[in-house]
Symmetry: C2
Subunit: 590 residues, 2 copies
C-alpha cells in the first residue's frame, strides 16, 4: 500500500470540508487503496465501491452528516462512506478490523441509519425518514443513494412513485454506472442511456414525468463538478433526482475492463495474477457446472427450455459463455424477482419450460408471486433456489428462511436433493412434467455423487426414501443435512449401540404419512434435520404428525434469528448440529 | 332488467364481430345491466367493470380470442369479458349462476389464461405467455390489460421494464380511469394526467422513454374509436402501450359520482335507496370504528402519529372524513405494499409513530421488506393486519397465510388480540414503545368487549394469559379462535367431565416456555387453535416445544390449500373446528 497521508487526517466527515479539490482527489486515491485492501482481505463489493469514491466525498463535503442523512441502497457503495465515518480500521489496518461489516449498519455509526443489504430499499426507507422529519418540523436534507441496477426492483419503483409527490426536501442520487451486477437489460436502462447520451436533455424523462426536479452530471467521478451539482440541490424544497454517471471499478483497470467479474471479489484476488477473479478453471464438477451442462444440452434438444435470472447469473454459474450459448433461451430480467416469478408462470402456462435461478435470500422478494402467479395457477415452472443453508453470512444475506417461506404455499412441490444424481433426476423430471410448480433447493457445498443414476419418479408426491431400515430411532435428514444425519446415525450405532433408521425425505413441502405411520411400530424417537430455520419449516410438519401419539420428536435446524457473520462452528454448536450434541439430547430422552 | 336482445345472440366472441357499432352500443347497455345484476346479487367490483365494457367489446371485435390472448390484471374488469365468453349465466340468469366466479379463471373458460385476483401481475404473466409463443414460433397477439391503479405495484413496474425490450408483439392496454380503489396519489399519476391533458402528446412520456410504442385514446368508452385504435396495433411487432381514458362506473350515475364507494359493492346495494353503498351509519362499535376513533384522538395529542394505507383505506374504515381529519398524518402510498413497509420502517427509525393498515392477503407482497427493512432494523413500526381468518373467500383472496408468513420472521412481535380492550391496549403499547416491530392481527368479525380495561404490559414478550386453570387438557386459542376454544372447553366439561385449562397466547410469534413447562405437571393434552393455515403457523411451535416429552398435542386451523368460495360451515367441518369434532379427536387419544 502507498503511504497514507490525507486519510490519516480524516476521522469524521468534517475533516474533509476544508480540503482542496486536489487534496480530495489524493484522498480518493487513498480510499481506493483501502477498498482494494479490504476486498483482497475479506472479499467484497469491489467495482461499485471503487466507482463511488468521489461522489461520497462530494456528498460529505456539501452535506452535513449525520444531521443530513444518507441512506445507501444495498450498501454496495458504502465503503468510502465508512472510511470517512470512523471506520477506516476495516479497510487500512493490518490486520484489517473485520468487526467492521461490509454493509450499512446503524450499530456501527451514527452516520448509518439502517442495516441494509438487500436491494432497492433506499428510497422507501429514506422517504420514511423524510416524512418523520417533516412531522417533527425538523430541517435537514435526506439523501437516498441508489444504483441504476437497483432501480429495477419493485420497491424502488414503488418508492419513486410516492417520493415524487412529497412536498419538501428529498434528494435521490442515482448512481448510474451502466451496470447491475451483470449488464442491465430493460427499458429503464434504455431511458437512462438516452439521458446519458443527451447530457440529461432527452425529451422523454421518466423522473420529470413523475414530478421530480432533475439534474444530470456526466462526470460523476469529478469531485469539483459533483460538489457544484450537490450544492445546487442542497436544501431544495422539492423531491429531486441527481443522476450522475460514474465508472464502475474506477481506478483499478481489471475491474473497469471486466465489470461483472469484479462486482464482487473473493479475498486474495489481487494475488491470483489472472485477468479476472473467477476461480481457476476447475476440472471437478460442482452443482453449478452440472446445472449449466444439463441446461445447455437440454436446450439443444428442446427450444422451449428457457433460463431466467433476476440479475444474479454469477450465483448459478451462468457466465457470459453460457449466456451466449443459450441465446434467446436465456433472459436476465434485471433485479426483479416478483416479475421473474410471474414471468415463468406465464411461460410455463403457455407450454414453455422455464427454469428460474434465484438465491434463497432474494427469493424472499417474491412470496406473493410464488403464491398467486405460480402456485394458485399450478404453473409447471421450475425454480432453483441457490445457497439455501445455514452460513456465516452477514445478517442481511442469510439463506435460512426459504423453507418456511416456500414449503407452506399450497401446490408447490419443494424438493431437497442430496446429491448429484438426485438433483439431475429431479431437475429433468421437473422440467418435463406439467402438473406442478416445482422448487428445487440446489444442494449447497461440494458436489456429492453416488455414481448411480437415480430413476425415482418424483411425480409420486411426498414419498420419502428410507435409505437404511433400523429401529428405535429414525433420522430424517433433508437436503444438505442428509449426510449430517447419516454421520449421526453412525455415531449412534457406535455410542449407543442402536441401529437407527435413516430417511431422505426428498420433499420439504409434504409429509409421507404412510412411512411415518409405519415408523411407529419399531421406533419411539424421530429426529429431523434441515439446513435452514426450524420455525415454520420442514421438521415441524413431522412433529405435528406425531403430536397425538407417543413418538418423541426433536427438530434440528437454525433458530429464528438474524445471525451476523457468526462462524459455522459456533452456529452448529448453538443449534446442536454435531453428533456429540445430538447424542446428548437423545440420552436425555431415553 | 331490460329485455335482453343482443346479449341473447352472443355466446362467444365471434358473435360480436358482425355487429354494427350501434348494435355493440346496445350490447354494452345490456352487459351493464348484467354487471349491475350480478353485483347486486353476489357483491362485486362494480365501478371498474362498468367502465370497461366498451373496451372489452372492442378488444374482442378486433382480436381473436382465444388465439389472441387477453390477460386481465386483478380481474377487476373481467365481467364483460366473462359475459361474452360463455359465462353470462353468472350475470343475467335468475337465479344467477354463482358457480361463475368474479375473477379470471382458466378452469372456467379457454378465454381466460390464469386465475387472477391479486393486483399488478398481468404484464409479467402476459410477457411469459408471449415469450413462450416466440420460443414455439407461434404467431398471435398477447394483450395485457392493466388499470392505472394497478400500475403502481412493484411487479407491474418490474414487468414494464422487461416488457419494453421484447423483440416482438406485445400489447399493454392501460385502462386509465383516474382511480385506484381510492384516489391515486403518486408521481405515476401525475405523469398519466399530463398524458391525458395533452391527448397523449406530452414530452415526458415514461412509456416512450422505456422504449414502448405508445398510443393514446381519450374516448376510452367510444367503441368506434377503440376499434380503430386497436386495429392500429393489432399484429404489431413491437411492445406497445395503448393508453385509454375510461370512466369508472360508467352508465350508473351513483358509481360515476362516488367512484370510491362503488368500486366494490355489497349485494343488495341497488335496494338501499341511498346515495352510496356504504352500510347505514352504525351506532354500535366495530374493530374499524374503534381503530379510527383511537387514531384520531391519538393524532390530536401526538403529531408524530402517521397512518399509512397501500390503497385499501376502505378495508380499515379510513373513509374520506377520517382521511381529511388526519390531514398530513395520513398517507395513501398507492398499491405498493413493499414500499409501504420500507416507508414505515424509515418513519419509525426517525422517531415518528407509523401505523400501516393492510389486508392479510395483500401483506404477502411485502415479505422481504418485513424481514429486511423492518425486522432486521428492529424499527418500532405498527402494522395492522386485517381480515386474517378462515373465510369462504375466492381462492385469490384467502387470508390464512399471514401467520406462517409473519410469525417466522425474527424480531417481529405478532400479536393476536381477542377483544376490544386487548386490542386497544396492544395498539397503544405498540405505538408508544420503541423496541420492536409489532404486527397486530386485528380481530375479524363482530366486536367483543369485556368492558374491563386491559392493563397488560405487552413488552414482557411471549407471556401467555391463562384465563382458566383446570387440568388434564389445555386449550390454547389464538385471536379469533380464543372464544371458539372457550366454547370447546365448556363442551369438554359437559361431555367429558374434564375441567380444561384455557389459554390466550397473545403472541403468535413466540412461545411461553415457562407456562408450557408448567402445564406438564397436571396436563397430558394440549390443543391449539388458530384462525389461519396450520402449516408453518403458530400451533406447530407449541407442538415442537412438546416434541421430546409425553404431552399430546393437536393443532387446529386451516389446511395448506387454496379453497375457493367454500362455505364456512364446510371448512369448519373439514378442519374439525367444532366442539363435537374436537371432542371426537380427544376421545381417540384418551
Amino acid at each position: 500500500m502507498n503511504a497514507v497521508s490525507y486519510l490519516d487526517k480524516v476521522n469524521c466527515p468534517n475533516d474533509i470540508k476544508t480540503m482542496t479539490i486536489e487534496e480530495l482527489n489524493c484522498l480518493s486515491d487513498e480510499i481506493r487503496q483501502g477498498i482494494l485492501n479490504r476486498a483482497n482481505t475479506l472479499s467484497g463489493h469491489l467495482g461499485p465501491d471503487l466507482g463511488f469514491v468521489e461522489p461520497t466525498l462530494a456528498l460529505h463535503y456539501v452535506f452535513n452528516s449525520p444531521v443530513d442523512k444518507f441512506i445507501l441502497d444495498v450498501s454496495h457503495q458504502c465503503y468510502a462512506h465508512k472510511m470517512i465515518t470512523q471506520r477506516k480500521s476495516g479497510f487500512i489496518d493490518n490486520p484489517i478490523n473485520s468487526a467492521i461489516s461490509g454493509y450499512s449498519n446503524d450499530d456501527e455509526s451514527v452516520h448509518d441509519f439502517f442495516k441494509i443489504g438487500h436491494t432497492s430499499t433506499s428510497i422507501s426507507l429514506a422517504l420514511g425518514v423524510t416524512k418523520a422529519r417533516d412531522l417533527k418540523n425538523e430541517k435537514y436534507n435526506v439523501i437516498a443513494v441508489i444504483g441504476d441496477g437497483s432501480l429495477s426492483g419493485g420497491e424502488a419503483l414503488e418508492g419513486l412513485n410516492n417520493a415524487s409527490v412529497l412536498k419538501g426536501n428529498f434528494i435521490i442520487v442515482l448512481n448510474d454506472n451502466e451496470m447491475s451486477i451483470a449488464p442491465t437489460n430493460g427499458g429503464l436502462y434504455r431511458a437512462l442511456k438516452e439521458l446519458r447520451q443527451t447530457n440529461g436533455m432527452s425529451q422523454n424523462n421518466m423522473f420529470k414525468a413523475m414530478g421530480f426536479d432533475y439534474y444530470y452530471l456526466n462526470e460523476g467521478n469529478d469531485i469539483e463538478k459533483l460538489i457544484e451539482t450537490f450544492k445546487k440541490v442542497k436544501d431544495t424544497a422539492k423531491p429531486t433526482v441527481v443522476h450522475i454517471h460514474t465508472l464502475k471499478g474506477k481506478g483499478y483497470k481489471p475491474a473497469q475492463d471486466d465489470k461483472e467479474s469484479y462486482h464482487f471479489v473473493l479475498n486474495g484476488f489481487l494475488d491470483t495474477n489472472s485477468d479476472n477473479n473467477s476461480a481457476p478453471q476447475e476440472n471437478f464438477e460442482t452443482y453449478n457446472s452440472i446445472t449449466v451442462d444439463y441446461l445447455l444440452k437440454k436446450k439443444e434438444k428442446d427450444n422451449s427450455l428457457i433460463v431466467v435470472s433476476p440479475a444474479t447469473p454469477g450465483v448459478s454459474g451462468f457466465d457470459p459463455s453460457f449466456r451466449e450459448k443459450m441465446g434467446d433461451n436465456y433472459i436476465d430480467v434485471d433485479i426483479a424477482e416478483q416479475h421473474a416469478v410471474g414471468y415463468v408462470s406465464g411461460l410455463a402456462k403457455n407450454g414453455a419450460k422455464p427454469v428460474l435461478a434465484v438465491l434463497s435470500s432474494f427469493v424472499q422478494r417474491a412470496y406473493d408471486q410464488l403464491s398467486q402467479d405460480l402456485a394458485l395457477n399450478n404453473s409447471p415452472a421450475t425454480i432453483l433456489v441457490y445457497w439455501g443453508a445455514i452460513t456465516s453470512a452477514d445478517m442481511t444475506h442469510l439463506n435460512i428462511f426459504d423453507i418456511p417461506l416456500i414449503s407452506n404455499i399450497p401446490n408447490i412441490v419443494y424438493l431437497s436433493p442430496v446429491n448429484k444424481e438426485e438433483y439431475l433426476q429431479m431437475l429433468d423430471w421437473s422440467i418435463e412434467q406439467n402438473k406442478h410448480p416445482v422448487v428445487i433447493r440446489v444442494p449447497f457445498g461440494g458436489l456429492i455423487s453416488t455414481g448411480i443414476k437415480d430413476n425415482t419418479d418424483y411425480s409420486i408426491l411426498n414419498k420419502y426414501k428410507m435409505t437404511h431400515k433400523g429401529q428405535k430411532i429414525a433420522l430424517i435428514g433433508a437436503g444438505n443435512f442428509y449426510y449430517l444425519a447419516s454421520s449421526i446415525k453412525d455415531e449412534i450405532q457406535k455410542q449407543l449401540g442402536i441401529d437407527a433408521t435413516l430417511i431422505n425425505p426428498v420433499y420439504l413441502s409434504g409429509v409421507d404419512e404412510k412411512m411415518l405411520e409405519d415408523l411407529k411400530s419399531e421406533h419411539n424417537m424421530v429426529l429431523t434435520f434441515e439446513d435452514g430455520c426450524i420455525e415454520g419449516g420442514f421438521g415441524e410438519k413431522i412433529t405435528r404428525f406425531y403430536g397425538n401419539c407417543d413418538m418423541k420428536v426433536i427438530n434440528y435446524g437454525a433458530k429464528k434469528e438474524f445471525t451476523d457473520r457468526v462462524s459455522l462452528s459456533e452456529l452448529y454448536q448453538r443449534y446442536h448440529l454435531t453428533p456429540e450434541l445430538v447424542i446428548e439430547d437423545i440420552k436425555k430422552i431415553i
